[in-house]
């Protein structure tokens, strides 16, 4: 079986159906559950009410698989959020021996255009989570209005497309991505649910763009190598909340940057100082676990590294202005005007 799949049209529903055919399985409702010979995980696709085509996947492949979209006549932008999960101990530093070029395994947000060839890599043995969608100028108009679109398309997008400047997947993206990276989205207003989250991702991308000085001024202060090392620092930081986070000294050693440079650059890239960022992610993790309804508050507290539950409750309240117990009670039955 070939591991390289080519596609003619920028339409993820077609991708999924074509892949299912190649794997000799059925993708009912555009959900492809990988057969064991191919890997473990799923890929689904959907065409949303406003016409955006979206794909979400979570895979560990037996052999690397590459999808490629040939330059297409249809003009679409695509936004790809891809995260490769690696065990922190396996994170190879630049300069050390590595099996795979770091660039190929970099978690990032990437803007592409159908005029350029695009590839999607699902590497062998690595947990890969991705959400991608194609959108047109017209759909962008419906989202931000024509005036803003012109500026975006003429000023910022070309710069990004030319420079391929990497943007990390930060906290705010991750919450939304996690909501989409599930095999079956069992929500009454399913398409609106997916669409709203896709548009939130696009919104965050656009607003980050607007706020990223380097894009506005056209000057990148960091090298891509530095950006990647900062992303590794970030990955280490949010990997496991049950353990104490690495110290600045450790992080500074790992990233091969001075503590001062590390702190400054981290804040520029992720918008928060290192420990504020750690704490925010920890609380978000706690909140999302509580919202699943599967865990008790105590269990969640322990899973995010709190042995003292009242510290947990206090920190939680500081972050979200409600107590963990209030999150759990939140989605009760509706009450009438009373």
């Amino acid at each position: 079986m070939s591991n390289h799949f080519k596609f003619e049209h920028p339409d993820y529903v077609q991708y999924v159906q074509q892949l299912a055919d190649s794997f000799k399985v059925k993708a009912a409702a555009n959900l492809l559950v990988l057969p064991p010979a191919v890997g473990n995980g799923f890929i689904w696709a959907e065409t949303l009410p406003i016409g955006i085509s979206v794909m979400a996947a979570q895979t560990v492949m037996v052999h690397e698989i590459t999808l490629s979209q040939s330059p297409a006549a249809e003009h679409f932008y695509s936004l790809q959020f891809t995260e490769y999960s690696k065990d922190p101990s396996e994170i190879k530093l630049p300069g050390t021996k590595k099996n795979q070029p770091v660039t190929q395994l970099q978690s990032s947000v990437r803007l592409m255009h159908t005029l350029m060839p695009q590839t999607y890599v699902f590497p062998e043995g690595v947990l890969t989570q991705t959400v991608c969608f194609y959108f047109s100028k017209n759909q962008l108009n419906q989202l931000v209005g024509t005036n803003a679109v012109e500026e975006m398309l003429t000023k910022y997008f070309p710069y990004l497309l030319l420079n391929e400047a990497l943007e990390p997947i930060a906290t705010d993206y991750r919450i939304t991505l996690n909501e989409l990276q599930v095999e079956t989205i069992d929500i009454p207003l399913r398409l609106n649910y997916i669409q709203n989250r896709v548009l939130l991702l696009l919104e965050k991308f656009i607003i980050n763009l607007f706020n990223r000085k380097e894009v506005v001024t056209g000057k990148l202060k960091r090298t891509d190598g530095e950006t990647m090392r900062l992303m590794q620092v970030e990955a280490l930081l949010v990997k496991n909340f049950t353990l104490a986070p690495p110290t600045i000294d450790e992080l500074s050693r790992i990233s091969a940057m001075s503590p001062t440079k590390l702190k400054n650059d981290f804040k520029n890239l992720y918008g928060h100082p290192i420990y504020v960022y750690f704490q925010k992610n920890r609380m978000l993790k706690a909140k999302s676990m509580l919202l699943t309804g599967k865990y008790s508050i105590k269990e969640v507290g322990v899973m995010v590294g709190y042995s003292n539950l009242s510290h947990f409750a206090n920190t939680f309240k500081r972050e979200f202005s409600i107590l963990p117990s209030e999150v759990m009670a939140k989605d009760g039955v509706l009450v009438y005007n009373s």
Partner: protein, 329 residues
């Protein structure tokens, strides 16, 4: 008290009519309240996806009664309001107006075929988003979803009753993000539109869950619905006499008592007696607010021979005693 009546189906016109009432002008879709009316603004948002909305964030400096008159067209309003009422007394006539002052912070879906009232007393703070859409728009919105038909059926049943939902933390958080989006931020309309769509999604999702929770039975026939509505009307005809018993009501509706109870709850969202009591207390409040009656008269009119029972029931509904309400004057 300033009384504003309207029945628009276009929010741009609505806002400019409000401006006439307030004696000011709408500039760039923004109505800044003049000092004698209040402090703050109402803002029209024409969303890139075609929806219209009004974002409000103001404190009023006098009593204002908003009255939306019914029109015979298929339009809906969805309101998300966070209201902090002032303690100041109401001045003026509000006799006979149902459901007044009932709305605090709430999410409310209403049809333009029904009248709607909103009283803001001097000092009241209002933070909210209203969205206005046609039945066609709603059908289009729901059409893509597999549960769309079920929700539509439910809404057509429910529209005569009130569709309220409390503003919980999540709604308040999203509302806060909408209101705090800077006025002239270039991508503001995107941020607002995305949040409004999130609120819509959440509202209809919760309606769906609510339907499932009460074992919503879509098999009710139109005749059933009409009989039950007649029963509801019968129930509220005269509060001064004992309410009609279930058995008699069942006979009038030509249903078994248990079928009546279940159908009633499905249509009005609450059991028969609770519905009766809610309207009885609303009536009491409206009478008291009219300042034409004493507590005793109101109690008797509503069938309470024992005034302390009346006071208790009133307090249970409104968290204050009838005398407290009157004592303000």
């Amino acid at each position: 008290m300033l009384k504003i009546e309207y029945n628009h189906t276009d929010y741009a016109e609505l806002l400019s009519d409000f401006a006439q009432y307030f004696d000011c002008a709408v500039v760039d879709n923004l109505l800044v309240l003049p000092p004698h009316i209040g402090n703050g603004y109402m803002k029209l948002v024409e969303m890139p996806n075609g929806l219209q909305g009004i974002i409000s964030n103001y404190t009023v400096h006098q009593d204002i009664l908003f009255k939306r008159n019914k029109i015979n067209r298929d339009f809906f309003t969805l309101r998300f309001d966070e209201v902090i009422m002032s303690e100041k007394p109401v001045d003026g006539e509000v006799d006979g107006l149902p459901d007044i002052n009932q709305i605090r912070s709430a999410v409310f879906l209403g049809s333009a075929k029904f009248e709607w009232l909103f009283l803001t007393t001097n000092g009241t703070q209002v933070k909210g988003v209203n969205i206005f859409f046609s039945k066609d728009w709603l059908e289009h919105f729901l059409a893509v979803e597999s549960v769309g038909d079920l929700i539509k059926k439910y809404l057509s049943l429910k529209m005569s009753a009130f569709n309220y939902e409390p503003m919980d933390m999540e709604y308040k958080r999203i509302l806060g993000e909408i209101v705090n989006t800077e006025q002239h931020f270039m991508y503001g309309s995107m941020v607002v539109q995305n949040r409004i769509m999130l609120m819509l999604e959440r509202f209809f999702t919760r309606i769906y869950y609510k339907m499932s929770d009460i074992h919503f039975d879509v098999k009710l026939t139109n005749d059933d619905i009409n009989s039950v509505k007649k029963i509801a009307h019968e129930l509220l005809k005269d509060f001064s006499v004992e309410p009609v018993g279930i058995n008699k009501l069942a006979k009038m509706a030509a249903m078994s008592p248990s079928k009546l109870k279940i159908s009633f709850k499905e249509i009005f969202g609450m059991p028969i007696y609770q519905y009766y009591q809610k309207h009885r207390m609303n009536r009491a409040k409206a009478m008291l607010l009219s300042r034409k009656y004493s507590v005793k008269e109101v109690g008797l009119e509503l069938g309470y021979n024992n005034l302390s029972n009346f006071a208790k029931a009133f307090k249970k509904s409104f968290d204050q005693l009838p005398s407290d309400l009157l004592g303000r004057y």
